[in-house]
């Protein structure tokens, strides 16, 4: 019972003909989308003519996909919800929700263990999801995909399994100051255990981690380089392929935290040539409770187990046990079966839209967000300014002078129903480096629209005025 998702045409063009073509699809899910869409098309005709970016006007990708996300259509605190916290977690389309439901309704069963009908079906679907992940990131084989609870657990897996057996005293691990806590703390714990040394790359004048410094820090002592692909605060993108080359030149491995990149753009581990890559399902329209680690098969094969228990063993005796091949070796106990299958459905949904389409839309919408934010007086947006050479992700972390980020976020939520995040976004070292205690962050996904950004800016202006009047 594969979830069949017909490929949707890419929505770069605002021609209504393109949109009508949805109606020719037969799957019920898409019909649902179309029914909703027809009510939207009335609004589309009143779309602002003054739009500078034609692909952002109705019907943009945001407008066409919004109907698929029931949670977006609600009011909070008396205003329409404007959800701009996608870097924290994404919303789920109906098809993913239906997949979860149908798993539990129709074929829930423990995987890999039984031979009865339900169990075989569950196992098939679970492994099919694994294959979907593998092909989504262009891994060479599905055995290179280990399902974990989330990206954090995946990084810990590498630290305990690969790190403990490969790192020793005075070995060096290179990270950046902009890493998420999940990409820092496991290595701190490991370094304490084995006596390894952590080195951090600072930011350059564009507020991107300095690649020249990184190259300087690399040496034969370096055993591992841990970098983010896309920063959840700076919105910068790192040249991962180059980093991998430089690292391999000195005999070091590379682990990439792709939590903010896999959901938003094409990520090809084969072409990037990374050794390890981690991502979370919940940031890419999938359910919470599942994430994955990609590792090159020869690396995974050489790694000892992480958690011990059922599923990861081959034979168990009283005095010793032998272990399964990867990926099973690293998947002890009953996994989050329904959730992994839900992740598979999310991948199908995203592939249906096309990652390139999603990425292009977000580059435009992200730039629109950035430019409109610049119009707020006394605002400081972190990370590089977008240009021809530098592409930003569709998120902006910022501070308004003399107004605390938390005050902004609270007022935006309470008075305008706008959901942004305030705090340190799990990057305390980065905030310390930037010299601030906290920042506010608005992050987009492909179902956000230009109107979302406009509403946000208007609400932010109102909020800034309110607090400024109290100074």
């Amino acid at each position: 019972m594969e979830v069949l998702l017909p490929k949707l045409p890419s929505f770069k063009f605002s021609s209504p003909i393109c949109c009508c073509s949805i109606s020719t699809r037969s799957s019920s899910y898409v019909k649902f989308g179309f029914r909703r869409f027809s009510s939207l098309s009335v609004c589309a005709s009143t779309a602002n003519e003054a739009v500078a970016e034609p692909s952002l006007g109705s019907p943009s990708l945001g407008h066409t996909t919004r109907p698929h996300f029931p949670i977006l259509h609600q009011e909070v605190n008396g205003s329409k919800l404007v959800y701009l916290d996608n870097a924290a977690t994404s919303q789920k389309p109906t098809v993913v929700l239906k997949t979860l439901q149908s798993y539990y309704e129709a074929y829930n069963s423990n995987v890999h263990r039984g031979i009865h009908f339900l169990s075989a079906k569950a196992t098939d679907q679970y492994e099919a999801a694994r294959r979907k992940v593998a092909s989504f990131i262009n891994a060479s084989d599905s055995s290179e995909i280990v399902f974990t609870r989330n990206a954090t657990e995946a990084i810990n897996l590498v630290a305990y399994s690969w790190g403990l057996s490969n790192l020793k005293r005075d070995d060096e691990i290179i990270l950046t100051v902009a890493e998420h806590h999940s990409a820092i703390v496991p290595w701190q714990l490991l370094a304490q255990k084995v006596g390894a040394v952590l080195k951090f790359v600072n930011l350059n004048q564009y507020e991107i981690p300095d690649m020249d410094k990184l190259k300087e820090l690399l040496s034969r002592k370096t055993k591992l380089v841990v970098v983010h692909h896309v920063s959840n605060v700076l919105a910068s993108v790192l040249p991962v392929r180059d980093i991998a080359n430089w690292a391999h030149d000195v005999g070091a491995k590379v682990l990439v935290d792709a939590c903010q990149s896999v959901p938003h753009m094409t990520v090809d581990v084969h072409s990037l040539n990374v050794d390890f890559l981690v991502a979370s399902s919940h940031k890419m329209c999938g359910p919470t409770g599942v994430g994955f680690l990609y590792g090159k098969i020869d690396l995974l094969s050489s790694m000892p187990p992480f958690l011990g228990g059922g599923e990861m063993i081959s034979d168990v005796f009283l005095d010793h046990s032998t272990y399964a091949e990867p990926p099973s070796r690293f998947e002890a106990g009953t996994p989050a079966i329904g959730e992994a299958i839900g992740l598979g459905a999310a991948i199908d949904y995203l592939s249906g839209i096309g990652m390139q389409t999603i990425h292009d839309y977000e580059v435009e919408l992200g730039r629109y967000l950035y430019e409109r934010l610049l119009s707020i007086p006394n605002i400081r947006i972190y990370g590089p300014a977008p240009s021809e050479k530098i592409k930003r992700a569709a998120l902006c972390s910022f501070n308004v002078e003399n107004i605390h980020a938390t005050d902004l976020a609270t007022f935006l939520d309470q008075q305008h129903g706008v959901a942004i995040r305030s705090g340190h976004h799990c990057t305390q070292p980065l905030h310390r480096y930037l010299g601030v205690n906290a920042s506010a962050r608005a992050s987009l996904y492909f179902y956000n629209t230009k109107e979302d950004v406009d509403n946000f800016i208007q609400a932010l202006n109102d909020t800034v005025n309110f607090f400024s009047s109290f100074k």
């Binding site: 605190n77 008396g78 605390h404 938390t406 005050d407 109290f470």
Partner: protein, 383 residues
């Protein structure tokens, strides 16, 4: 315009904006505002109804709320138990309907908060669980004989500063027992909860708890300090120079005053008087004694036939603290020095108990505390 939710759980929020909550209806008054836009509840008229008045006494009722049920009062602390300034603040916020106006009020409070000096922004003073930085400092007010707790607070977030100001205004200068009695869920009474995100709320509660904890710590330290100098309200004594302060029944709030060491006072006493053999020396320091002071003197003279007797009214030093409240004539604290043969053979505790027994009537009628020096003539001669 806002629909206010009771719970921080996002799924419940969803519920409350769409339907009448299934929870007992009367849990909602005072902070539920029905959304103006999708007003599909036939129960209510078009005009938004806000239930903002919590009954402050069982008999009162507001024009818009149905009569309160006991479930409401069982779950929330009655407003009368709150410190008086806090009661005022609660009423003020309840009378302000619009969330935006509540915010303005909150910010206004914050503005009035005296900034905290940098040296006090320590880790011990930092409130955990706050998205912004909040510090709270607490100390005993030396100008009030270290009997009351004074708070200072600061935050880099304006809204949090407002919350801190509420607590500082409400708690400063109040007795410890009153402060620690305040239950965290009083924040519901403010009607602000729905205007605050759960994480901020968490900070508010932690701020409250930190202030309560600090008050308790100060109280305990002061008690310890007093007992080290030889006094405590229990009967175990470590007497250094024969002086201690007995804390007699308080004003019903149960041991809220901090015992005060009287070391210095004792020294003053012993140096100020002379014993003339056999003769009765009377010395009342300061101004004249009125009413109670005279009665005390007469009683002690009559019963103990003292060689020396000094009665000093020091109530003015305790003016403003809880023990004094309710004692109209202001004669609440006295220093006594009694030298009498009656004390021979009696332990210090017994001597003090004797005096208290003699002055029982006064103690029942507003005398709050006595600082006693009780010696025998021979002890004084050895001196």
């Amino acid at each position: 315009m806002s629909a206010n939710s009771i719970s921080s759980c996002s799924s419940l929020r969803f519920l409350t904006t769409r339907t009448i909550p299934k929870t007992p209806f009367l849990k909602t008054p005072s902070f539920i505002q029905i959304p103006r836009k999708n007003n599909d509840h036939t129960f209510f008229s078009f005009r938004p109804i806000t239930f903002q008045k919590l009954p402050t006494t069982p008999s009162s009722s507001s024009s818009t709320t149905p009569s309160p049920s006991t479930t409401e009062e069982n779950s929330l602390q009655p407003i009368e138990e709150l410190p008086p300034k806090l009661q005022e603040i609660v009423k003020l916020f309840q009378s302000v309907e619009e969330p935006k106006a509540k915010y303005e009020q909150l910010l206004f409070y914050g503005k009035s908060l005296k900034p905290l000096e940098q040296q006090f922004k320590t880790n011990d003073n930092k409130v955990q669980g706050c998205v912004s930085q909040v510090w709270v400092r607490a100390y005993l007010d030396p100008q009030q004989n270290n009997n009351v707790v004074v708070y200072e607070a600061d935050s880099d977030s304006l809204l949090t500063k407002g919350l801190a100001a509420l607590l500082v205004t409400g708690f400063s200068g109040r007795p410890v027992s009153e402060i620690v009695r305040v239950k965290p869920d009083f924040v519901h009474l403010l009607g602000l909860q729905q205007s605050l995100t759960p994480s901020r709320n968490n900070g508010f509660l932690n701020m409250l708890k930190l202030m309560q904890k600090k008050a308790l710590m100060l109280f305990v330290e002061a008690e310890k300090g007093a007992s080290e100098l030889g006094s405590s309200s229990s009967s175990s004594l470590e007497v250094k120079d024969g002086n201690f302060v007995e804390n007699s029944k308080g004003s019903g709030a149960g041991g809220e005053s901090v015992s005060q060491s009287s070391g210095e006072k004792g020294a003053e006493f012993t140096s100020s008087s002379e014993v003339k053999g056999g003769s009765f020396v009377e010395n009342s320091s300061g101004g004249e004694l009125s009413g109670r002071g005279r009665r005390i003197k007469e009683k002690l003279e009559k019963e103990l036939d003292p060689v020396e007797l000094e009665v000093e009214d020091v109530s003015y030093q305790h003016a403003g603290h809880a023990g004094v409240r309710g004692s109209g004539d202001g004669e609440t604290h006295f220093n006594l020095r009694v030298v009498s043969k009656e004390f021979e053979g009696k332990s210090l505790v017994k001597r003090h108990r004797l005096i208290y027994k003699l002055l029982d009537d006064e103690l029942q009628s507003g005398l709050h505390a006595l600082s006693i020096v009780a010696k025998t003539p021979s002890e004084v001669n050895e001196g």
